[in-house]
Amino acid sequence: MSAAFSFRRMLAMIGKEFVQMRRDRPTFAMMVGIPLLQLVLFGFAINSDPRHLPTAVLDADHGPFGRALVAALEASTYFDVRRAVSSEAEANHLLARGTLQFMVSIPPDFSRQVARGDHPALLVEADATDPAATSGALNTLQELAQTAIDPDLTGALAALKAGPPPFELRIHRRYNEEAVSQYNVVPGLMGVVLTMTMVMMTALSVTRERERGTMENLLVMPLSPLEIMVGKITPYVLVGYLQVAVILAASLWVFHVPMVGNLLLVMLTSVLYIVANLAVGFTFSTLARNQTQALQLTLFYFLPSILLSGFMFPYRGMPDWAQTIGEILPLTHFMRIVRGVMLKGNGWSDIAGEVGMLALILLVVSLIAVRRFRRTLD
């Protein structure tokens, strides 16, 4: 009687799997690479309590307490007072673009009012699109208010150290006043879903041709690589658009994400983003030898996309090298565009830079795809 389970057969099976694994180098690399990647990303790159956030100070007081305050902000390591802005308009503009995370306005006469014990108001404006990015800094700010100017409270003013803070901190959260993280996550999700599905679908559809032998026929027909690429990509643009419509509808009517800016702008930039992802998928299909490899490449691309684009974790919480990787990922730019338009009401001029980056990525990736696509079976 043959046993239902045989240890010998099992070992033979394991042996065979090892042999196959050794032959399939990319899979092997991926199996090692993905855990490594996750370790690196979760272990070092992710910082949900970002520091060194770009801050501008609008000092209308020019008094001693203002300077003490700036020093205290810097000492906390949460704030990088990088530049002085000259007008409120300029600061607002920089906040909208995302160049600044905070703006501190020191009102005129601040030092004098503190000295008088008037408890003047200090206005801090925060880009709170992503609540996680600012919460740590804002908490510190509260403590800071208590002690920031203590060293300067000498002599008669020493009495102010006790009791309520010498000035009143007024924090103004911009763009996502209620700190609803869904407002931040849902628009981001649109980019994430598109990344996964668009890249995977094209990568698979082209490798499938190769695997089934139909590519040989395509190549013998009078079709150029670009024709094949565009032909493969176009149907998926529609699929992608359907996804955009569904997610937009859900974010507006299910999650009640505010639509501060122009919906049309989101719809238009989505096309660019979808095509960029399809081009990435097509490039993958020129690298992968079969559908399994195509799927693995997609996953390999997807991981950094969600982790380093500012979707999952605040962009500013990442070290410089991670931010550099983030800059070359289309999702990073699309995420900024969608969040910017929906939550901050960004207009065309605010997002032009990000749109330009998307277009550049699309161009580079398409060139690689068309160049790599082989017209022969060599």
Binding site: R212, G213, T214, N217, M221, P222, T376
Partner: protein, 315 residues
């Protein structure tokens, strides 16, 4: 005298250092059917792919339809019909959709009428809406042929088109091939079937990437210089297998093949073969008869010889 449709010299292809096609030269006249024969892995598919520009030869040169195979690959592709060894149309598309796709890619005028005509001519009209993946082997092959001649190519490259197809479908397929040749299309067809080889105007036999013989069937048979005999069992106790064992490895014996109650014996050196057979011919259990070698005898003989050469060269 018309120029040959295929004229290549010294065609060589290597994959990772291994020579798969070795200095192959071939010439095919217009309107001819050239049979391309050789064991599996001998380089038939690779040669065909080089002819239609799907692979770039490492060495060698030549023309296909008067166009340079290196420079004018794109132009060649447009005038060549290529039927791949593996079915390469879309199994998840209907017969008609596949044909329509091809017609559109080639930008054929009157695509709709052309597709309808092709469906009619090949008896596929009733199955036009059936998915290609649901067709049997014979019907798939008809579809593939219909699709590869849709753009009216002047040269048809068929890579083992009848593998796994039943005899009736094969016969009908060959009728179509002859019909096409009659219309002036030149055909290069690879096959393993001897009866198909005998239907060709001309055959070429390759092994290990080298062209061993080329010519008409009669020329190829004659050039092998093979002498063959058939020994038929006279008595029920006479064992053909036992006779084969007695002859195995003896001088002059290159070919031994039992056919039921008969044994086919052959050798390249007629005198030596005669000498060896003289001893066993006294056996009254078998009747001996000299006969004409078949094409199959010739190929099996060639295959054995080329293997010896190849191994000799390799070591």
């Amino acid at each position: 005298m018309t120029a040959p449709v295929i004229a290549v010299r010294g065609l060589t292809k290597r994959f990772g250092g291994r020579t798969v096609v070795d200095r192959l030269s071939l010439a095919v006249e217009p309107g001819r059917i050239m049979g391309f024969l050789g064991p599996n892995g001998s380089g038939k598919t690779t040669t065909i792919r080089m002819l239609c520009g799907l692979l770039t030869p490492d060495e060698g040169e030549g023309t296909c339809l008067g166009l340079d195979i290196r420079r004018d690959a794109a132009a060649i592709k447009r005038q060549v019909g290529y039927m791949t060894q593996k079915f390469s149309y879309y199994e998840d598309m209907s017969v008609e959709e596949n044909l329509a796709f091809v017609a559109r890619v080639y930008g054929l005028p009157g695509a709709r009428a052309r597709v309808a005509a092709a469906l009619e001519r090949l008896g596929l009209a009733d199955r036009r809406r059936q998915l290609a993946g649901e067709l049997s082997g014979g019907w798939k092959q008809r579809l593939a042929l219909a699709a590869s001649v849709l753009h009216e190519p002047r040269l048809l490259l068929l890579d083992e088109p009848t593998a796994g197809v039943d005899p009736k479908a094969r016969r009908e397929f060959w009728e179509q091939i002859h019909q096409l040749a009659d219309e002036g299309i030149t055909v290069l067809v690879s096959t393993h079937y001897m009866d198909e080889a005998e239907r060709c105007h001309q055959i070429a036999y390759i092994a290990y990437g080298q062209l061993l013989v080329e010519g008409t069937v009669a020329e190829v048979v004659a050039s092998a210089g093979l002498a063959t005999y058939t020994a038929s069992a006279r008595a029920p106790q006479a064992s053909v297998v036992e006779l084969a064992r007695r002859l195995q490895g003896r001088p002059g014996i290159d070919l031994l093949a039992p056919f039921g109650a008969a044994l086919h014996v052959g050798g390249g050196d007629a005198a030596l073969l005669e000498q060896t057979l003289a001893a066993v011919r006294a056996d009254p259990d078998f009747a001996w008869q000299r006969d004409e070698p078949s094409l199959e005898d010739v190929f099996i003989h060639l295959m054995g010889r080329s293997r010896d050469n190849f191994q000799g060269a390799g070591t």
